[in-house]
């Protein structure tokens, strides 16, 4: 690019930086230690800190390995970068206004972005609306890890062909337009679907079936359709360049998911244990059913298949993990493995889209299955709160499994699909019209590692 424009950019950047620092100045010494912290339970806080670490581990190295292994050699670094850079970008958004927009009080659709601008007022004192025994700041950190991994999941659908700059712009917009509102609606105080916090339509989503997996899965599908297929797909072979990386990633994802789901209990009591168990048995069951299905249909059980089944089982149980018994979780897993197998192997070839790393087939389809099965399987014996918390004209209404709750779940799913689908479509069109989404053919055949980042993964 010509020197003048670059210089222009530089100035812009530095002025931003200065402004930024200035805004900070005020908040630099701000903090919240003064309030009584008697309420903090060290065991609960220990578990939530550990869980936060586990969920970040899901993004890196978990997801970067899982995705990185599935692409071709020439694109592995760019694919890993798609997740890595969000640890920086999303965290920054989260600090400035993201957390506030998701969890501060506001209307049914989003929280007031200014309440916790630069995280002011988020400190030692627990926020009883969310978690009474841990610092509000711990809750904020735990939720941030979810905000990081969700857009990272989408990147699997646009791997090997998107412009890095376009990816960044799209992701930031997507967080603001899709993630933060959806997060508020499901989990934020006063959110439209927040069964435990004054919502109108009580949708059960324990750890992010809608917020994380359906939203990213559906957005991924739209991305795949709008961006179009990789050059040469499906004619040229595009095999995973290193399945070993993908298997390491699978193991780390499974382990990290314990933090993701059991951490969502927001304490270290039995509910955490119960969510931990549901998570594990669903993953196990899904691995079994995917493997058996493939073995029967293709004659051989592939290792990548077993790994894909595990992730499918984990994504599927996510919304249900805190509401169902172990046998129910196992059933959900069995269904997840088989259904996602077909979603991944058949849907794609039928509709000829190139969801390169099967984000939709695994996360989207899986979590839809989980959300809906949850409608029937949610158990008040596992989670008493669902029978006693949600009020309608004075009386508590039980959200335990049944036709009524199934309907609520369905509404939640459809709404999420619509918001994520439309939002993503519009944003992609905007980005495409302005800076363009795809690299040119030269760059694509050279590989994104070289064309976008000037590096190669493997050398002498």
């Amino acid at each position: 690019m010509n020197p003048i424009r670059r210089a222009g950019r530089k100035n812009l950047f530095y002025s931003c930086l200065v402004l930024f620092l200035f805004v900070f100045a005020g908040s630099l010494h701000a903090a919240d230690a003064t309030t009584s912290v008697a309420a903090i339970n060290s065991g609960d806080n220990a578990w939530l800190l550990a869980s936060s670490a586990l969920v970040l581990m899901m993004t890196a190295p978990g997801l970067i390995l899982f995705y990185g292994g599935l692409v071709r050699t020439k694109n592995v670094l760019s694919t890993m970068m798609h997740s890595l850079i969000l640890m920086a970008v999303v965290s920054t958004l989260w600090m400035i206004f993201g957390y506030s927009m998701a969890f501060a009080e506001g209307n049914s659709f989003f929280g007031n972005p200014l309440t916790h601008l630069f995280l002011k007022g988020v400190g030692a004192a627990p926020n009883a609306d969310y978690a009474a025994t841990i610092p509000h700041e711990t809750f904020m950190l735990f939720q941030m890890m979810f905000a990081i991994i969700t857009p990272a999941l989408i990147s699997g659908a646009i791997a090997e062909r998107i412009k890095f700059k376009a990816y960044l712009v799209f992701t930031i917009l997507w967080m603001i337009v899709v993630y933060l509102p959806l997060c508020h609606m499901m989990w934020g105080k006063g959110g439209l679907f927040n069964w435990a916090g004054g919502g109108k339509i009580p949708v059960l989503d324990f750890a992010g079936g809608t917020v994380v997996h359906i939203s990213s899965g559906v957005s991924a599908l739209v991305c795949a359709l709008v961006l179009g297929r990789r050059d040469g797909y499906p004619r040229e072979p595009m095999m995973p360049h290193n399945v070993v990386l993908t298997l390491i990633g699978t193991g780390l994802l499974w382990v990290g998911w314990f933090g993701f789901n059991a951490g969502s209990a927001l304490n270290a009591g039995w509910l955490a244990t119960s969510a931990f168990a549901a998570t594990h048995f669903s993953a196990a069951a899904a691995a079994l059913s995917w493997t058996v299905t493939e073995w029967l249909l293709k004659g051989k059980p592939s290792v990548l298949g077993a790994a894909s089944g595990m992730v499918a089982g984990l994504a599927t149980i996510t919304p249900a993990s805190g509401f169902v018994s172990i046998p129910a979780a196992f059933c959900i897993g069995l269904v997840a493995g088989a259904v996602c197998y077909f979603a991944v192997t058949k849907l794609k070839s039928i509709f000829h889209y190139d969801d390169s790393l099967d984000v939709f087939g695994v996360h989207g389809v899986g979590s839809i299955v989980g959300m809906l099965m949850l409608g029937f399987l949610a158990s008040a014996e596992v989670n008493l709160a669902i029978a006693t918390t949600f009020m309608k004209n004075g009386a508590a209404i039980s959200l335990a499994g049944g036709g009524a709750q199934f309907l609520n779940q369905l509404i939640g799913v459809l709404f999420t699909v619509a918001l994520a689908g439309i939002g993503t479509f519009v944003l992609l069109k905007i980005v495409n019209a302005t800076i363009g989404l795809r690299v040119d053919q030269e760059e694509e055949s050279l590989g994104l590692d070289l064309s976008q980042h000037g590096e190669r993964a493997y050398n002498e």
Partner: protein, 112 residues
């Protein structure tokens, strides 16, 4: 001086090497190659998409020899590399006009 180029099955390399050593042939250069021929490949499946891989791993052995040794060397290679199964490979021979040993500047037969 002639060059012998043999395409063999990878797991036969050490046997072929030993066979050549027995003839007092000490020098050779080996390359990992992919072969395509009568031998059928295999299919692989990744998440439902099937790929047929018809290039099979082979080993190329090259050795330059004085004309006198060629006949024996070719026989030795064929004997050592044979499994009788399809895909055993080929041996090709052609003339080399000149050879040098970099270390000593020696030229001709004494270079190899």
């Amino acid at each position: 001086m002639k060059k012998i180029e043999a395409i063999i099955k990878p797991f036969k390399l050490s046997e072929v090497k030993d066979a050549l050593n027995e003839l007092g042939i000490q020098g050779m250069t080996v390359t990992e190659v992919k072969g395509f021929g009568r031998q059928k490949g295999h299919t692989e499946i990744y998440r439902g998409s099937e790929y047929t891989v018809d290039f099979l791993p082979k080993i190329k052995i090259e050795t330059i020899l004085p004309d006198s040794q060629v006949k024996a060397a070719v026989q030795a290679i064929i004997k050592a590399a044979k499994t009788g199964k399809i895909g055993d490979g080929k041996v090709f021979v052609w003339t080399i006009e000149e050879a040098w040993r970099i270390r000593t500047d020696e030229q001709g037969d004494s270079a190899v």
